[in-house]
Symmetry: D2
Subunit: 96 residues, 4 copies
Amino acid sequence: MGQARLTEEEVSARSRDLPGWSIEDGKLVRAFQFEDFIAAFSFMTRVALCAEQRNHHPEWENVYNSVTIRLTSHDAGGLSERDFELAAAINAAVPS
Amino acid sequence: MGQARLTEEEVSARSRDLPGWSIEDGKLVRAFQFEDFIAAFSFMTRVALCAEQRNHHPEWENVYNSVTIRLTSHDAGGLSERDFELAAAINAAVPS
Amino acid sequence: MGQARLTEEEVSARSRDLPGWSIEDGKLVRAFQFEDFIAAFSFMTRVALCAEQRNHHPEWENVYNSVTIRLTSHDAGGLSERDFELAAAINAAVPS
Amino acid sequence: MGQARLTEEEVSARSRDLPGWSIEDGKLVRAFQFEDFIAAFSFMTRVALCAEQRNHHPEWENVYNSVTIRLTSHDAGGLSERDFELAAAINAAVPS
């Protein structure tokens, strides 16, 4: 089930498939840099739509061209499968 | 000045540098196809920010993964330099 | 089931609870006017998130401060319950 | 000029006309609560468009239905007129 808290071993294993993210304070974290605010905010809109589609939302902050995203599952008390699924969807949304 | 209506010759010359757009009913028109609605709408957000930045706005429609954009300068009674500038910014925003 | 095509009687009955919308060419249609482009596009973002949440998307167009939305269910070959649900969510999103 | 750093007296005077904001660490700060993520993010889109229009951008964070905005003028080394103008535009964007 998506909401179950993953064990440390599961988190380590899943993290290997997820370039760019690290674990900080028990959350999945990645910082992104864009060309300007317009590129940053249109990326955020894409992430917002992905989040709403899954009913699983990020903790995030934006300063001009930088966006930092933190993922956790409050109802699971830690990281769940849903965090890794949203992180993978976010990685797929990064302009190459 | 940006708002002056371009002559037919100027429109032809400017169009050569603008891949993907055509002239229909005196407007600059381009249709875009994306992977899904999420990709289409995040592109639209980028265009919306580019438009607001320039205070020059598109006529556009969206159906799921397709977006059609029409540009004209109502105050100039036709196409102006501002339409070509916005079209170039939109082209730069298309994910490659 | 949400995708079943509603009969004409069902459409009439459901329409009575839905202020502002009319039936045109078999689609649910409503036009909105806002103060400016910024208000129009932030409303569109709200509708886009509602649409993605339901996996049911509008046909819509925007010109500066005006937005026209058309709803239909292609898979049902006409109007379904999902169109009325999205229309009600859109009405709830209109700033009063 | 908009970029000049305001004195403490000017900041105090301007703050009186700006309900909801406080000064923290020399920045203008306001926290907002919305009904849900959809309402929060469509508000953020409105703020993003206001920011791009002015070429003056917030530092902000979002967790589900809450948005915290911090304003400062890095080029002025503190608060400038532009922060108060953006804050007033943000207040005007809050749904009543």
